[in-house]
Symmetry: C2
Subunit: 339 residues, 2 copies
């Protein structure tokens, strides 16, 4: 602790805790101001520490992507957990058991067969609309088409369309006597709320706590807001290919982002002319976008800093996140894994 | 134990232990017959159980891709470990420490600066050629260009070329008074040895113990030889998109194989008309190659079996492998991770 991040063996995933806190607080403030409940998604990081920061220490009102996450958070005092997944037929018993030890635990439902299943084994839970042991708590919309947006204007247009459709659907439900909550998600739309979002009950973004190159390309954030990096070192020179080898392969940053960026699978911080062109399990191949590599700038052992295309995918490859403040190590966070 | 694999919650990585043993034994027999030392690579599975099977119980003479693997195997009684990685400048001290508690521990070296580094902090080790505390044990060649082959004839041609170049290089070394071992790798070339391979000291394939769709496409094996599957379940029907949703996203099988197969990211066993077209973190989208999906064949909760494009990448996403014999569970293997 207290040592510079350069002491880490590589590849290593490092988190700037100050940026994490700023990203989280901005989202909290944004939805407090709008009067909409923020239900942060845990899928990007899957750690207790980050969940505390995202919930402002309340440990209430979160979304998870796996039942393993739900159990992990429940085991550590979190409650009001939404398992945002079409109720999996093989996990109904585990879901029901979890619901019995929490104040609030909900699952998604998108098919009449799933309703039948839940009628046979209802979860213990609160909510508004009741049908033979199953209660409809709300309508959950992802708004994932914001990921093809470029810039705030396009994000606003997609968000507005999603909200309009959601509100129309809520009206139809109301017309048949059902009134319940509504929630939309996606980091792009929740980073740039439109006014009508205030008519929803909840929002459920998740990636924003780290952000990544993809989000900066969409326009959710600037590259400076990205809290996550993968540290890597030069391990070999390949002058016959005009390439460097680095010690980050797809086990260190994932294969997400293929073909998406002019700089390859990541942005190499401070070296805009370098491109991460391909990876094997434990090697990355780096070459200049143009010209010849000046190998004297990249001696063996020298450190490079990768900004991941997709932080959820990069984080999923690591069992430890190294946390720093101003480049000095302050802790390690351990994510949960599995299903 | 003893239960059918269908009791597993999904996604789950399952291994057919009988196929694992057959794949391992065939490789052992092949190189015993050829009089060449087999040094199996651990990077695909990273487990003790599979390492025992691949070494025929000797726990000697293995290759690893990370120092974490090297330490894991050393901690469990394995020895004669080759860390097949250009000696990483940040891990020299850990390498040296490991060398001091093993009979044989070697690293790769491909740059004069790395030689300088090792001269300052030599590893304790055996070998033939000696220069100020650093001994050259052998020449290591990957033969990775076999991965673009289709069929045994092409594999043979690439293997022959690699062996010829390697032997020419050994001759040049001999001419300056250096005689040492030689080793080539890659599962395709080692699954179909050419006669001249007998002139090498060692081979170091790894993937063969699981094989995968990629290897069957190259011609290393048949699809029936593949020992690994990812079990998944149907979680939703999307008739408006003519798609099924399954509970295997890229956290369950990785993004490796994009654009490589007519059936998408995997082969869906027994359903040649189905294609895994895309994945998010926890969802896979499956559609027919042609025609309309017959949803009555795929009720919610029904099990599908994915044969991974790349077993190394699929295995890397799992912290437990479920091992079965004839479809009945017989154990769990836990891989090591990290660096």
């Amino acid at each position: 602790m207290g040592e510079p991040i350069s002491v880490l063996c590589t590849p290593a995933l490092v988190l700037d805790v100050d940026k994490v806190k700023i990203n989280a607080q901005k989202m909290i403030d944004r939805y407090q101001k709008l009067g909409v409940q923020l239900r942060p998604h845990m899928k990007t990081h899957k750690t207790l520490e980050c969940a505390d920061i995202m919930t402002g220490g309340s440990r209430r009102c979160i979304v998870v992507s796996t039942l393993a996450e739900a159990c992990f958070y429940a085991d550590h005092g979190f409650d009001d957990i939404l398992y945002a997944y079409s109720v999996p037929f093989d996990k109904v018993e585990r879901c029901a058991a979890l619901s019995e030890r929490l104040d609030l635990f909900q699952v998604l439902l998108d098919h009449p067969d799933a309703l039948e299943l839940l009628r046979k084994r209802p979860l213990r839970d609160g909510g508004q609309w009741h049908t033979e042991g199953v209660e409809l708590t709300g309508v959950y919309v992802h708004c994932g088409n914001t990921y093809s947006c470029r810039g705030v204007e396009q994000i606003h247009a997609v968000a507005q369309e999603t909200i309009d459709l959601t509100l129309q659907f809520m009206e139809k439900l109301k017309a048949v006597g059902i009134s319940c909550k509504s929630s939309i998600g996606s980091t792009p739309s929740c980073s740039h709320p439109v006014k009508d979002m205030a008519q929803l009950s909840e929002v459920h973004p998740g990636n924003y706590v780290f952000y990544d190159v993809q989000q900066s390309t969409i326009g959710s954030c600037s590259l400076e807001d990205v809290a996550v990096r993968v540290l890597t070192r030069v391990i070999s020179h390949c002058p016959h290919r005009n390439q460097l080898l680095i010690d980050c392969g797809w086990t260190g940053i994932s294969l997400d982002g293929a073909g998406k960026l002019p700089t390859g699978y990541a942005v190499i911080e401070g070296h805009p002319n370098l491109k991460l062109v391909s990876m094997t399990q434990e090697h990355g191949r780096v070459e200049p976008s143009s010209g010849q590599l000046d190998y004297s700038r990249y001696p063996l052992g020298s450190l490079l800093t990768l900004i991941p295309y997709h932080s959820c995918a990069a984080a999923a490859m690591h069992s430890v996140y190294h946390v720093h403040s101003g480049g000095r190590l302050v802790g390690k966070w351990m994510p949960t894994r599995g299903w």
